[in-house]
Symmetry: C2
Subunit: 357 residues, 2 copies
């Protein structure tokens, strides 16, 4: 690899001069010299050694991002939006895809740490995110923010307003004349810490409130907790299994609401297998607006989020904390409202075909 020294020799100048011209864009040099040096560097294929720069400058200029892209399209959308925001802020991005699991996450965090990220952004962190890894960042005064996911103590978070989102769906479904609603949410751990502020519980709250306002009885607004806690690996299978269980009952609900599109996709599969027509016999809704939702045989009614704006906000929050090194420990939770997207799966088109999008 070409070094400043080699360029300096070739140009007959000193190393520091070359450094100034090449890596500091200093205007205080003779235009001719500057151009000549630039030409030489270009010709030799010089790439500044970032390791040397970082070690001298004392900062890495890197922001880390940890996600679990897995199967979920929305996680990818979020991380892409965050990546754009980070690059736009003139930072380099170090992306890590832990599978949110034991050794995966350790490895990723270790890389983040030894590459000295200046800040860390978590995409949809699960409740199982290891506390001690987080503490390590805290200890080294590396600020962390979360985009989506579960509330983590000391970590500022930007996410969709799950409660309001659920309310929108319930209101819409109820307005279509559906009674007997059922909300399916992933199971919580045995003793869910109330401090944690689970989006799931917010969804349940929104569901119940809106159902009440729509004049539904408690029996007409059932909530089912399903699956193993923190199981994010098999959303389709979970959705399918949950739906199968519902379909096996004597009395079926008229509409089943899911926490995300992926569970809803599994549910659609269960319905197809059982020969149950969506939305004619049963209505299904999702949440998050995964791109594929539009391309299912029964396109999903769902709630979308402003990924770009939220990612920007999360990044800004992070940058601010990076700047003022002495950030206090209050960690805001910012809920951003989503937007209802009506498609066929809820049965809206039986009522008013023009209501799409």
């Amino acid at each position: 690899m070409v070094t400043l020294k080699q360029i300096a020799e070739k140009a007959g100048l000193s190393i520091s001069t070359i450094s100034h011209i090449l890596n500091r864009q200093s205007p205080r040099y003779n235009a001719q010299t500057r151009e000549r040096v630039q030409k030489i560097a270009e010709a030799m294929g010089y790439i500044p050694n970032r390791y040397a720069q970082v070690i001298r400058r004392g900062r890495s200029g890197i922001i880390g991002m940890i996600q679990h892209a897995g199967l979920l399209q929305v996680a990818v959308l979020k991380s892409q939006a965050a990546a754009r925001a980070i690059v736009a802020a003139n930072y380099r991005l170090l992306a890590g895809d832990s599978e949110w699991s034991g050794s995966g996450i350790q490895t990723v965090c270790a890389t983040m740490l030894d590459l000295r990220v200046e800040g860390l952004i978590l995409i949809d962190p699960p409740a199982s995110f290891p506390r001690d890894e987080l503490d390590r960042f805290q200890k080294h005064r590396i600020p962390v923010v979360a985009l989506g996911g579960v509330r983590i103590k000391g970590v500022p978070q930007i996410r969709v307003d799950a409660e309001k989102g659920m309310e929108m769906i319930v209101r819409h479904v109820a307005a279509l004349g559906h009674r007997d609603l059922e909300l399916v949410v992933p199971a919580l751990p045995p003793r869910p810490s109330p401090a944690i502020n689970w989006p799931t519980l917010e969804r349940v709250a929104g569901f119940r409130r809106a159902a009440r306002q729509a004049g539904l009885t408690a029996a007409q607004a059932k909530v089912t907790f399903f699956g193993a806690p923190n199981d994010i690996m098999s959303p389709y299978a979970n959705g399918k299994a949950a739906m199968e269980q519902i379909l096996a009952r004597v009395e079926r609900p008229r509409a089943v609401l899911f926490c995300n599109d992926d569970w809803a996709i599994g549910a659609l599969a269960a319905c197809a297998e059982a020969g149950v027509k969506v939305p004619d016999q049963i209505a299904i809704t999702g949440f998050d607006n995964a791109p594929i939702g539009e391309y299912l045989p029964s396109p999903l009614t769902t709630v979308t989020q402003d990924f770009e704006g939220m990612a920007k906000a999360a990044t800004d929050l992070l940058l601010e904390r990076i700047r003022e090194r002495d950030w206090n420990l209050e960690a805001p939770l910012i809920r951003v409202p989503g937007r209802l997207i009506v498609r066929r799966s809820c049965g809206a088109h039986a009522v008013s075909p023009s209501a799409d999008s």
Copy 2:
């Protein structure tokens, strides 16, 4: 951040001693001293400064990985498998998604270069991957390998045997009694270089050969090139549009074969919208075995790949080239056979319900 110097002071030893003990696992020290030093380092939260290590050692220990796929589940599966292989080989991973930033691939490659990756693995590179970026790596003697994707000159590649895969599907579909097959493949650029060895063309070849062997006439084995060349951003939309066009024709094929599951998903949506039953009226197949394919209302018949094994092979190839710095320029193309997965979308279950998986 804690440095060796600080630890040395606290321990009353010299920096080089600490360095040996901590970062070289040297056994040549007094066990007591070693333990004491380790304790101190632990307590102080020491993390070796990788920038300093790299600069001294002269190698980064990082392997880069570039992917270029947002919505496609299989790209994620491949990259996760590759990531595991890289970590298992004791390298750090630097992952970049070309979609992740404004000027995309440029930015990502720049990061790869200035973090001095020792090798680069490309996940499903498109034909549009810029040649000059590749040349830059070549020039700096950084080996590059591709896992899947389009054939690139000078880049060793491991991918599924597209031709054989297609043959398997055709044979299966023909055995079910379907005549009038149609293969839909993404359009190629105006003058596709024959040197490039397009997987698409291999698929076409496999399709034609197997059709002939099954006794189908040319008219019974149609090939349609669809969409804009190199458009990997909208697989669902493309599949849907292609299918709509087919459904609009007076004479419809009995089975439509797609190049990947994502196009097939779009096609299923088109069928549902048009009220065409899959597989009763028309059979559909995909390719790649995206996890969601199993959970569609008409689960997709498809071809799966050994992602883990292929990723391992690609990584091994890369490591070998990193090791022998003077790698010659012959770049093998290794085709790994896939495996047919039969589900409902092809109509197999109408014939023999037990043939699943």
